[in-house]
């Protein structure tokens, strides 16, 4: 985080100064992450004595230990399963929903739109209590399917909204001509809309994926069984048990963030656009 508030905007053209300033800002901004990586390669002793410096000898075995002790293989599978199912169901249901709301516009769909707007501004933490007890009654507590169901439900409003704005951009003429040709709505959806909408499907998948992978609030409250934990909560449980071995805590941290970071670096544009566009609509 930039600790210098000085506005060093000198004359235009001195882009070197600007670059230096920005680079410093980036280093300062990312130094916690750098610290995470550096400390993950130290022994715990080293972390205590020399928290900021470079590791003397990279302790790659930290990662191995953490992976095995932390039960990360199961956690990764759990998270993967959760993410994939959530994405598939959300994208499929929201795609149909958004299409119908923008192109078919049945009576009352405006109400649905307003409803989604409302739920987006309501934070999900407020639904916790009733969901918690409802899930217990329905025996969905401490099950992955129960958690996935929640993730599906809470991601729908946002995805519907961003898909709606995308679909609005699809010219009606194409759809009309297909209808005249005798195509049923489902066929139109499948044959015309879907191929064109690949970008928004990608963005939606990334958004849902990110939200679900990083989500910890519900995952923490609704899953207690270690074997079912997702990666984020596995990290929480792991660091709760091994709180004094900082090198391992950092190594676990790196393992936890790595998949998303890699995915992000590949799809940066979609990530950034999707995240900002979605919130702007709200």
């Amino acid at each position: 985080m930039s600790m210098n508030k000085k506005r060093t905007k000198k004359e235009k053209g001195t882009s070197v100064h600007t670059h230096i300033f920005l680079t410093i800002a980036i280093i300062v901004s990312l130094f916690p992450i750098a610290l995470l990586i550096l400390n993950s390669l130290k022994t715990n002793q080293e972390v205590m004595e020399n928290p900021v410096g470079l590791p003397s000898v990279p302790q790659w075995n930290n990662y191995v230990t953490v992976w095995q002790q932390g039960g990360y293989s199961t956690a990764f599978l759990n998270s993967l399963l959760t993410v994939v199912v959530a994405i598939v169901v959300v994208v499929a249901s929201c795609g149909c929903c958004a299409y119908a709301m923008t192109k078919l516009k049945p009576r009352g769909s405006r109400l649905v739109g307003n409803y989604f707007m409302f739920t987006m501004s309501v934070s999900v933490t407020l639904c916790l209590i009733p969901l918690f007890f409802l899930w217990m009654k329905m025996q969905l507590m401490n099950t992955l399917r129960g958690l996935i169901l929640i993730y599906i439900g809470i991601n729908i409003p946002l995805i519907v909204t961003i898909m709606k704005s995308f679909f609005l951009g699809i010219p009606d003429e194409i759809l009309e001509s297909a209808r005249i040709d005798g195509c049923g709505e489902w066929k139109i959806l499948w044959k015309i809309v879907v191929p064109v909408s690949k970008p928004i499907f990608l963005t939606s998948s990334l958004l849902v994926g990110l939200a679900v992978w990083n989500e910890f609030f519900y995952a923490n409250s609704f899953i207690q069984n270690d074997g079912l934990r997702t990666v984020a909560t596995r990290y929480l449980a792991f660091t709760g048990q091994y709180s004094s071995d900082w090198s391992q805590v950092c190594a676990a941290g790196v393992i936890t963030i790595l998949p998303m970071v890699i995915l992000y670096l590949i799809f940066q544009r979609q990530f950034i656009e999707g995240l900002t566009a979605g919130s702007v609509k709200g």
């Binding site: 169901v89 401490n142 996935i148 069984n225 709760g240």
Partner: protein
């Protein structure tokens, strides 16, 4: 129209399959099998328990299964067994053998979720094997509902070599305690280390200790039975004495910001002289530094007219769920756990069952564990015990007390307000029937 319908069906079918398919990866509790041939019993066990106690219970289970081939046991290892049990019980389910703290046990008993054990107590002679104070904490409305899991006490661990070097004596009054802390501070040594940032509920330990030492057994008993107001002067003085210790940094002022591990490190590395904790601390301390010379003493009474007490607690209980299909089998299992030769094995790991017929002298337990066992036995024999919050205090009062003790120290709420709120919460507890009669 048909195609549309078919597509819709296919979509929903796939979704359902996916969702139900996910269910295969959960390993929650299974419903008991009520077939004539075999009974299945379920129970939760904490993954945070030491490996030894987990191994022990597993061995006990397999031995039991061998002796009783018609009973199968299903042990679920989860990270928060108490929380899960509470949730499931509230939802009308729950494991057959209920494994919780005694306060929750009281609530469950009062809601009719637990099977009264009085008959089994007669059958298996349990009432003879446990002391009265144990039975008291496990009864509700005159009936007995649980078997005690473990007995613990709150003691002060101190650095023996450091005390010898400096010629320090174990304090016997509050003033001596303060003086000792002064001398330690003068030598740049932290008197009492403590840390609760990773487990706020640890504040309960100090709450239990300060009220036991500050009020003494008789008055604390009166308080907890509603015969004395929480706003009385004695209580006020007690809390003031505690805040005084904190304000002078005799108790680590930043305890809310460091973990228990870090606090223990301060003790074992010699930066702190004393550590107020429970008898369970013996394992972690030995693990941290086996060569560390330590001993324990009982916190002196902070009143001049009351004897020193050892705050004791039952760290949970085993009960039988009314939803259990074969409570007789459950009772049989519980009885096996408490068989002399079985229970005594746990003794080695510092788990002390409050059985009065347990002959621990033959067990090859580490020296320190024996030390603690004897300490506990001696104090219990004198009958001078204090009352730990998580066993003896009613739910709301207990929760308010440990949740807000930090704020009192820091002056965010006044002592008067703290006491008033305690009184209020106690009244609510009385109305709801949460108050344990002992």
């Amino acid at each position: 129209m048909k195609r549309k319908l078919a597509a819709l069906c296919a979509l929903s079918l796939t979704a359902t399959m996916l969702l139900t398919g996910c269910g295969s990866s959960d390993s929650g509790e299974k419903k008991e099998d009520s077939s004539a041939e075999s009974t299945e019993l379920t129970m939760f066990w904490g993954s945070g328990q030491s490996q030894e106690s987990t191994d022990h219970i597993k061995t006990v289970i397999s031995e039991f299964e061998e002796k009783n081939p018609d009973i199968k046991f299903n042990l679920s290892i989860v990270s928060d067994p108490e929380g899960q049990v509470k949730q499931q019980m509230a939802a009308g389910g729950g494991p057959d053998i209920v494994n919780t703290d005694t306060t929750s046990m009281q609530i469950f008993a009062s809601s009719g979720y637990l099977v009264p054990l009085d008959e089994y107590a007669e059958q298996y002679k349990w009432s003879e094997r446990f002391d009265q104070w144990v039975l008291d904490t496990l009864s509700y409305d005159g009936q007995w509902y649980g078997l005690p899991k473990e007995m613990v006490g709150l003691v002060v661990y101190y650095n023996e070599s450091m005390f010898k070097e400096n010629g320090w004596e174990i304090p016997t009054t509050y003033d001596e305690l303060v003086k000792l802390c002064e001398e330690m501070t003068a030598k740049d040594i932290l008197p009492f280390t403590f840390g609760s940032s990773d487990y706020k509920q640890a504040n309960q330990w100090w709450v239990s200790q300060l009220f036991s030492a500050g009020m003494g057994q008789e008055d604390l008993h009166k308080l907890l039975q509603g015969e004395m107001d929480w706003t009385s002067d004695e209580v006020r003085t007690t809390v003031e004495n505690f805040v005084n210790l904190w304000e002078n940094n005799y108790i680590y002022q930043d305890f809310a910001a460091i973990t228990m591990d870090e606090a223990r490190n301060l003790f074992t590395s010699g930066k702190a002289g004393m550590f107020m904790s429970g008898t369970w601390e013996v394992s972690p301390i030995e693990e941290a530094d086996p060569d560390f010379e330590w001993n324990i003493y009982q916190m002196p009474s902070w009143r001049n007219d009351a004897p020193s007490v050892l705050p004791v607690a039952l760290d949970g209980s085993y009960s039988i769920n009314t939803k259990c299909e074969n409570p007789d089998a459950a009772a049989k299992f519980l009885d096996y756990v408490y068989q002399k030769d079985v229970a005594v094995r746990m003794h080695q790991f510092g788990t002390l069952y409050p059985l009065n017929d347990l002959d621990t002298s033959s067990v090859d337990a580490p020296e320190k564990v024996k030390l603690l066992q004897n300490f506990l036995d001696d104090s219990l024999a004198t009958g001078k015990i204090g009352y730990c919050a998580w066993t003896y205090w009613p739910a709301n009062t207990d929760t308010y007390a440990w949740n807000n003790i930090e704020s009192v120290c820091m002056g965010q709420i006044s002592i008067d307000e703290y006491l008033e709120k305690l009184q209020e919460n106690f009244k609510v507890d009385e109305e709801k029937g949460n108050v344990l009669e002992f």
